[in-house]
C-alpha cells in the first residue's frame, strides 16, 4: 500500500481524506495546507501519491503541481477538485497530475483514483 500526502487548506477535508485513505490501507505520511508546504513536504517525505486541492490560498493547486512535477517528474499527484469544471482537471493533467477526484469525496472515488495513479506510474 502507498504512502500518501494530503494537500488541502481545510483541516476537516484533510481529516476526512486521512480516514478514507487509512480505511483503504494507505499511510498518510504528510499533510500540507498550502502549496509551499506541500512542495517542502514532498521533498522531505517523497510520498508515493499526493492528493492536491485546487483552491488554496497563496500558490494554488495547479501552480503547486507544476512546481513539484518540475523538480520531481515522477510525482504521482491526484487532483481533488470541488469545481467540477473539467477545464481545471485538464489543466492539472496537463501539468502532470495523474488522476482526479471530484468533490464530494467518497471512499470509492478515493480508492479508485489512488489505485489508478499508482498503476499509471507502474506502466511508465
Amino acid at each position: 500500500m502507498a504512502n500518501v500526502m494530503i494537500v488541502d487548506d481545510a483541516m476537516i477535508v484533510r481529516k476526512h481524506l486521512t480516514t478514507m485513505l487509512q480505511n483503504e490501507g494507505h499511510t498518510v505520511v504528510a499533510e500540507a495546507s498550502h502549496g509551499l508546504q506541500a512542495y517542502c513536504n514532498y521533498e522531505r517525505y517523497r510520498p508515493d501519491v499526493v492528493t492536491m486541492d485546487v483552491n488554496m490560498p497563496g500558490m494554488n493547486g495547479l501552480e503547486t503541481i507544476e512546481k513539484i512535477i518540475k523538480d520531481f517528474p515522477d510525482a504521482r499527484i491526484v487532483v481533488v477538485s470541488a469545481f467540477g469544471t473539467k477545464t481545471v482537471i485538464l489543466d492539472a493533467l496537463q501539468r502532470g497530475a495523474k488522476n482526479y477526484i471530484l468533490k464530494p469525496i467518497s471512499q470509492e472515488k478515493v480508492a479508485q483514483a489512488v489505485k489508478e495513479a499508482l498503476a499509471a506510474e507502474c506502466e511508465q
Partner: protein
C-alpha cells in the same frame, strides 16, 4: 543500364579476364617449363663439351703411356741422345698435335723439353710455367707403382692445357721409373674450334666480360651455370679444375634458344586463336541471348507495366511457354488471377462491412491527429450531422455555434492530450472520461463513446481515435415522458388525498388573480411596492402548488416571477400601469390550466365541482354564525354555535398536514439527509381559514432550513453530527397565544456572510451594521430581496420567502424571531394571538 548492355559488358569482361588468365598461366606454367627444359639442355650440352675435353685428355694420357713405357725412352732418360729426339720427338709434335713435351727425372728436373707452335709448325722456347706442377711429391711426378694412364688439366700461364703423363719405364711397365713423360696440348682457339666441330657445339674458354662483373667467373662451379645471353642465345659455363685443384679453366658452351622461342611462339599462337574464337563467339552468343531471353523478358516487362499502370487485373501477359521465361509468364498470370480474385473478395467484404456499419444505426468515425474526421465513417454520421463530415473538426461538429466556443476549446485540448499521450493507458482513459459523453444536437441528443485504436496499419485512412455516436434523443424523450407521467401521477395522488386543499388553493389563486392584483395595483403606494406584493403572493402560491406536486404550474409561476422581476429591473420607474399591462399579459389566471386539465382528464369533469358537502361560501357561513350569535342565549343556541364553529374549526396542525411529504421529496431533490419533519402539538381547534396564508408562508422557513440550514451528509460527518438532519415544528398554546417553533439542527446562520450581504446589497450602512446586535442582524433576513444566495432556483434564493413570512405574521398581528445557534441550527419562533 538495361539488360542488353549489361550482358554485353559482362561477356566482354569475362572474355578479357579469360584471355588474361590464359596468358598468365601460359607464362607461368608453359614458358617456365620451356625455360627449364632449355636450361637442362644447356647443362647437358655443357657436360658433353666437358666429356669431349676429357676424352681428348684421355687420348693424351694413352699417348703418353705409349711413349713412356718404352725401352727407348727409358734409355734416353739414362743417356739422352739426338737420335731418339730426331726419330721420335720431331714427328710426334705435329702428328699428335702437341704444344709441349716434357721429360722429367724423378726429382722433377727437366731432362728434355720441346715447345711447338701448331699453327706456325715450328719449334718454340719452353717457358717455366710447368715448374709449379713439378715439385717434390707432385701427382705429376709418378714415382710410385701406379701404371694406369693419367691425364689432367694444367694451367700454364694464362693458357689452360690438357696433359697426359706417365712414368718412364720399360716396355713391360715394370721396374723403377726413370722419370715422367708429360704431353701437353694447349686449349688454343684452333684446338677448341676443332673440338667444336667434332661435337657440334661452339665451345670456347670463358672471358671475364662474358658474365656480369670480373669476379663472376670465379663463382662458376663444376656444376654448369646457365646464363641467357640475348633473345636468341644462351650459354652454359662449367669449371674444369687443374691437376692441383687450385686453378681451373672455365669452359663456355653457347646454344641458340630454340626451345624457349618455340615455347613463346606456341603461347602466342594459343592466345591469338583464343582471341579469334572470342571475336567469333561473343556476337553469336549475344545474338542468341537476345533472341532467346532478352526480347522475351522485355515483352513480359512491357505487359506487366501496362497491366499495373492501368490496374487491369483481368488482363494477362503473353508468352507462356516451356522455358523459364514462359514459366515466369505463366506464374505471373497465375498471380494476376489470384489478385483479381482477392480484390473481388475484398471488395465484397468491404461492401458487406460498409453495409453492416451503415445499417448499425450508430455513427462510427475516426479522428486523425489533426482532430479532424478521417475519410472513412458510417452513413449514420451524415444523418446525425446533416452532411459530409470528412475533414471537419470533431469539436465543431458536436459543439456548433458561437456560444459553445469554450466547450470546443476544451474538447480540442483534451483530444490533443490524448493524441500526444504516450503508452500510459490509464492516463488516456482518464482524459477520455473527461470528454463529453452526451451532447444535444439539433432536435436530438447524441451519446458519444470514445475508443483508442492506436497505431494501426491503415492509419492513413483511420485515425488513432475511434468515436461511436448513438442517437439517444428517443431514449431521452421517453425518459422525459416517463418523468412527466410520474409527476402527473404524483399530482393526481395528491389531488385524490386532499381534493379540498387543491380546490382551496386553486380558488385562492383565482381570487388573487381576479381581484387581489387589481386591489394591490390600486392600493399600493408605488409600482415597486405593488410589484413586491404581487411577487410575494406569487411566490407563496408557487410554494403551495409545489406542495400539491403541480409541477407544470410551478414552472409557469417561476417564469412569471422572472418576467415580473425583469420588468421591475428594466422599467424601474413608478409606472403602475406598465406593471398592470405586464401582469395582464402574463395571463396569470391561465397558468394552472394545464395541470387542471390533466387532473380533469383523470378524474372527470366533475372533480373540481364534486363535493360531499354543499358548497357554502365562507362569508355566508360567517353571516350565519353572526346571525346565530344574535339568537337568544340558551342551550340550543350554544349547541348551534358550537356546531357552526365546528363546521369551520379544525385542529391547528391540520394546516401542516401536507408538510411532511412535501419536505421529504424536497430533501431528496436537494440530496440532503433528512429523517422527516417532526410535528408536535397543535391539537387545538382554530378557524383554519384565518391561517391559510400562514400555511403558504411557513413553507418558506422549512425550505430555507432544508436548503441553507442542513449540511450535506459529508459535512455532517465531519462536524460529528448524526448523518441525517432534523427539522421540527413544535406548536404550543399558551396564554391565548399560538407559539410555533420551527427549527433545524444544521449549520446555523453565517453572521459574517449576513453582514457582507447586508453591506453589498445596500440594506444598511457600515456604521449601522457596527451597532446592530444579533437580533437586528437576523431581522435583516426578513427584508425583501435579502438573500445570501447568488443564484435563484425553483426552491429559494430570491429573498422573497422570509419577507412574505413577516408580512403574513404581521397581518395576523403576530411576531417572529430568529434564534441562531451557530453550528447547531436555526430556530424560528412565531407568536400569534389566539
Amino acid at each position: 543500364m538495361n539488360l542488353r548492355k549489361k550482358t554485353l559488358c559482362l561477356v566482354s569482361l569475362a572474355f578479357l579476364i579469360m584471355i588474361l588468365t590464359v596468358a598468365l598461366l601460359a607464362r607461368e606454367l608453359l614458358l617456365e617449363k620451356f625455360a627449364r627444359m632449355e636450361q637442362d639442355n644447356v647443362r647437358e650440352n655443357t657436360f658433353r663439351a666437358v666429356a669431349a675435353l676429357q676424352a681428348n685428355m684421355q687420348d693424351l694420357g694413352n699417348m703418353s703411356m705409349d711413349y713412356a713405357a718404352w725401352n727407348d725412352t727409358r734409355d734416353f732418360m739414362d743417356s739422352p741422345n739426338q737420335e731418339y729426339i730426331d726419330a721420335n720427338i720431331d714427328s710426334a709434335m705435329p702428328n699428335f698435335r702437341l704444344n709441349l713435351l716434357l721429360m722429367l727425372d724423378r726429382n722433377g728436373k727437366l731432362v728434355f723439353g720441346r715447345g711447338w707452335d701448331l699453327e706456325e709448325k715450328k719449334e718454340v722456347n719452353i717457358t717455366d710455367d710447368w715448374k709449379k706442377y713439378a715439385y717434390e711429391r707432385s701427382p705429376l711426378l709418378r714415382n710410385g707403382e701406379d701404371r694406369e694412364p693419367a691425364s689432367a688439366l694444367l694451367c700454364l700461364g694464362d693458357m689452360p692445357a690438357l696433359a697426359g703423363y706417365y712414368p718412364i719405364v720399360a716396355n713391360d711397365k715394370s721396374g723403377l721409373s726413370r722419370g715422367t713423360l708429360v704431353m701437353v696440348r694447349y686449349l688454343e682457339p684452333a684446338m677448341l674450334k676443332d673440338l667444336s666441330r667434332t661435337i657440334y657445339l661452339p665451345v670456347r674458354l670463358a672471358q671475364p666480360d662474358d658474365l656480369d662483373g670480373p669476379d663472376s667467373l670465379s663463382r662458376i662451379t663444376r656444376e654448369p651455370t646457365v646464363n641467357v645471353v640475348g633473345a636468341n642465345e644462351i650459354a652454359g659455363y662449367v669449371r674444369v679444375p687443374d691437376l692441383l685443384g687450385s686453378e681451373a679453366a672455365i669452359i663456355r658452351v653457347q646454344l641458340p634458344r630454340n626451345i624457349y622461342n618455340e615455347g613463346m611462339q606456341s603461347v602466342l599462337y594459343l592466345l591469338m586463336s583464343l582471341v579469334a574464337i572470342g571475336l567469333l563467339y561473343i556476337p553469336i552468343a549475344l545474338f542468341l541471348l537476345d533472341r532467346l531471353a532478352l526480347q522475351k523478358l522485355q515483352r513480359l516487362m512491357a505487359d506487366i507495366l501496362s497491366i499495373s499502370s492501368a490496374q487491369r487485373w483481368a488482363a494477362r501477359v503473353r508468352g507462356e511457354s516451356g522455358d523459364e521465361i514462359g514459366l515466369l509468364a505463366r506464374a505471373i498470370n497465375h498471380m494476376l488471377a489470384m489478385l483479381e480474385f482477392s480484390l473481388g473478395k475484398l471488395r465484397d467484404s468491404n461492401e458487406a462491412m460498409e453495409n453492416l456499419l451503415n445499417n448499425a444505426g450508430q455513427g462510427f468515425l475516426t479522428l486523425g491527429r489533426n482532430l479532424q474526421v478521417q475519410t472513412q465513417y458510417s452513413m449514420e454520421c451524415e444523418r446525425l450531422f446533416g452532411g459530409e463530415i470528412s475533414g471537419r473538426k470533431f469539436s465543431e461538429l458536436i459543439y456548433p455555434g458561437e456560444e459553445n466556443k469554450e466547450n470546443r476549446q476544451f474538447v480540442d485540448r483534451a483530444l490533443t492530450m490524448v493524441a500526444e499521450n504516450g503508452a500510459d493507458k490509464v492516463r488516456r482513459r482518464i482524459i477520455l472520461e473527461l470528454l463529453p459523453q452526451e451532447v444535444p444536437l439539433g432536435s436530438t441528443t447524441i451519446g458519444i463513446g470514445y475508443r483508442w485504436v492506436g497505431h494501426t496499419r491503415s492509419q492513413e485512412e483511420f485515425g488513432p481515435l475511434m468515436v461511436v455516436l448513438t442517437d439517444i434523443g428517443h431514449t431521452r424523450q421517453l425518459e422525459k415522458q416517463l418523468e412527466q407521467e410520474k409527476a402527473v401521477l404524483k399530482m393526481a395522488v395528491k389531488a385524490a388525498m386532499d381534493p379540498q386543499g387543491l380546490r382551496d388553493a386553486l380558488e385562492g389563486y383565482q381570487t388573487f388573480c381576479r381581484e387581489e392584483i387589481a386591489e394591490i395595483l390600486s392600493g399600493a403606494e408605488s409600482a415597486v411596492d405593488a410589484s413586491s406584493r404581487i411577487l410575494s403572493s406569487l411566490h407563496s402560491y408557487k410554494g403551495l402548488f409545489g406542495q400539491l406536486e403541480m409541477t407544470h404550474t410551478v414552472q409557469q409561476l417561476h417564469e412569471a416571477e422572472t418576467a415580473l422581476l425583469q420588468q421591475r429591473t428594466e422599467s424601474g420607474d413608478n409606472n403602475k400601469e406598465a406593471l398592470g399591462v405586464v401582469a395582464a399579459g402574463l395571463e396569470l389566471s391561465r397558468l394552472p390550466q394545464r395541470d387542471v386539465e390533466t387532473l380533469q382528464n383523470i378524474y372527470g369533469e366533475g372533480f373540481f365541482h364534486r363535493q360531499e358537502y354543499a358548497m357554502v361560501p365562507l362569508a355566508k357561513l360567517r353571516a350565519v354564525e353572526q346571525q346565530a350569535t344574535g339568537l337568544p342565549p340558551g342551550e340550543t343556541t350554544e349547541a348551534l354555535l358550537l356546531e357552526l364553529r365546528r363546521l369551520n374549526h379544525r385542529p391547528f396542525r391540520d394546516l401542516l398536514r401536507h408538510y411532511p411529504e412535501y419536505t421529504r421529496s424536497l430533501a431528496e431533490r436537494l440530496h440532503k439527509p433528512f429523517a422527516g419533519l417532526e410535528i408536535e402539538g397543535g391539537e387545538f381547534l382554530v378557524d383554519l381559514s384565518l391561517y391559510r396564508g400562514l400555511t403558504k408562508v411557513l413553507l418558506h422557513i422549512i425550505r430555507n432550513a432544508l436548503d441553507h440550514g442542513l449540511e450535506t451528509e459529508q459535512e455532517r460527518q465531519q462536524a460529528g453530527k448524526p448523518e441525517t438532519g432534523r427539522i421540527y415544528c413544535r406548536i404550543e398554546w399558551h396564554n391565548n397565544e399560538i407559539i410555533l417553533y420551527i427549527g433545524d439542527d444544521g449549520r446555523g446562520i453565517n453572521m459574517q456572510e449576513l453582514r457582507q450581504t447586508a453591506l453589498e446589497g445596500g440594506f444598511c450602512s457600515a456604521s449601522e451594521l457596527a451597532v446592530m446586535d444579533e437580533a437586528a442582524l437576523t431581522g435583516l433576513l426578513f427584508r425583501e430581496r435579502f438573500s445570501t444566495r447568488k443564484e435563484s432556483s425553483l426552491l429559494s434564493g430570491r429573498g422573497l420567502g422570509l419577507s412574505a413570512v413577516q408580512r403574513e405574521v404581521g397581518r395576523l398581528r403576530g411576531r417572529v424571531f430568529i434564534h441562531n445557534r451557530p453550528g447547531r441550527g436555526t430556530e424560528f419562533e412565531i407568536r400569534l394571538p389566539g
